[in-house]
């Protein structure tokens, strides 16, 4: 998908959460900025749903940030394997 990269504040709004929370997830490595060429890091639009997923898992299952990030990464891997098996 060739969609435009967006700023962190836009990602926060689309995920429905605060900018500080997005920053925290970036620190934990959930999101990699797609570009750092401008002053502000830019993210792929899909980052919003990834953030929301991590935050749902964190809140609903009582995980900490590292645990939520790990869960998201494992889910990605499972998804990739399922796609391969199809």
């Amino acid at each position: 998908m060739n969609e435009e990269l967006v700023e962190l504040s836009v990602i926060a709004r689309r995920a429905g959460i605060r900018v500080t929370l997005v920053r925290r997830y970036v620190e934990f490595g959930l999101l990699e900025p797609a570009s750092r060429t401008s002053e502000e890091p830019l993210f792929a639009p899909s980052a919003a749903s990834r953030l929301a997923k991590a935050e749902r898992l964190r809140r609903d299952l009582g995980l900490n940030y590292a645990g939520a990030v790990l869960a998201c990464e494992l889910l990605d891997r499972i998804r990739a394997l399922e796609d391969q098996a199809r």
Binding site: M1, S49, A52, E55, R56, R59, L61
Partner: protein
């Protein structure tokens, strides 16, 4: 609308005398099992909501006490001669409404919960959050993938939607429909809907990535002498030049007549020569073939032991 009694103990699979620790343990285990981000079954989300509601009530000593008291009375009445009816009637008769006016339709909790704890007694909230993304399979014929159009689809939450898809979609492509996923929590934005494209096998064209193969039947004399013949494409018919001396299996490329490529452009269509011989020959044709056999020194098996 009848409001049915909900057995929150049964939902969490714990006995009525379960301790707070037992309840917490049971909830955490089931929450991991049915969390909609972890479990892609269509009924997991409903089950997860039910778990949250049960835990909300049973983990709070005040709510649990109220639930136990009213629940026991309701069930006793149901067993009594001439008893029965639904929970709502029970409330109306016993006057347990506490003067609270109910407006059903809060999506996050059941009517039973609202009835028991009053309108506005929602779940403990931890702030707004975007809703789940959804997915639907978009199965298309090659023709439809090339042309684009509109299709009725079943989303993984069971909904049916009419979705437009653009011309030139590729197998495995994800088409994002922003905001068409599950509603957000506590006023958060909705998730997105992804259409996952799957191209169906075609009776005429074989797909090789972005390229297509199609068989091109030709008569022996067309193959030997050369000819320009029609070949089907996804959008109609093209003409292809079969060079003189083409054997079966020769691939004739029609550039750009394949499927859309990622990043623009199109794959190619390959017409594969397939020499086809008439089943019955007239006397004259028979004679001509025999004559050809006589004058020809062509050995198609030359060099083979």
């Amino acid at each position: 609308m009848a409001v049915e009694f909900k057995d929150y103990y049964e939902v969490l699979g714990v006995p009525r005398g379960a301790s707070q620790d037992d309840i917490r343990r049971a909830y955490r285990k089931l929450a991991r099992e049915y969390h909609p981000d972890l479990n892609r079954d269509s009924d997991a989300e409903e089950r997860f909501k039910e778990l949250g509601e049960a835990y909300e009530v049973l983990s709070d000593p005040n709510k649990r006490e109220r639930y136990d008291r009213l629940g026991a009375q309701w069930q006793a009445q149901e067993r009594a001669p001439g008893g029965g009816g639904d929970f709502e009637e029970f409330f109306d008769r016993k006057g347990f409404g506490d003067g609270v006016r109910f407006e059903f339709g809060d999506g996050d909790v059941s009517d039973f919960f609202s009835r028991l704890f009053g309108n506005g007694a929602g779940m403990r909230s931890s702030g707004p959050l975007r809703g789940l993304d959804r997915e639907a399979l978009l199965e298309l014929s090659l023709e439809d993938a090339v042309a684009g159009g509109r299709r009725r689809l079943t989303v993984d939450d069971g909904r049916s939607i009419d979705a437009n898809f653009p011309a030139g979609v590729r197998d495995g492509q994800l088409i994002r429909l922003a905001g068409q996923g599950a509603p957000g929590r506590d006023g958060g934005p909705p998730g997105d809907l992804y259409l996952r494209v799957r191209l169906k096998p075609h009776s005429t064209f074989r797909r090789q990535g972005d390229d297509l193969d199609v068989d091109l039947p030709v008569a022996p004399w067309e193959a030997a002498l050369g000819a320009t013949v029609p070949v089907p494409t996804l959008t109609g018919t093209a003409r292809v030049k079969v060079p003189a001396g083409s054997s079966s299996g020769r691939r004739l490329r029609l550039r750009g007549r394949g499927l859309a490529k990622q990043g623009g452009g199109h794959g190619d269509l390959h017409a594969i020569v397939k020499i086809t011989v008439p089943k019955h020959l007239s006397d004259e044709q028979q004679e001509l073939f025999e004559k050809l056999a006589e004058v020809s020194d062509f050995d198609p098996r030359k060099g083979r032991s």
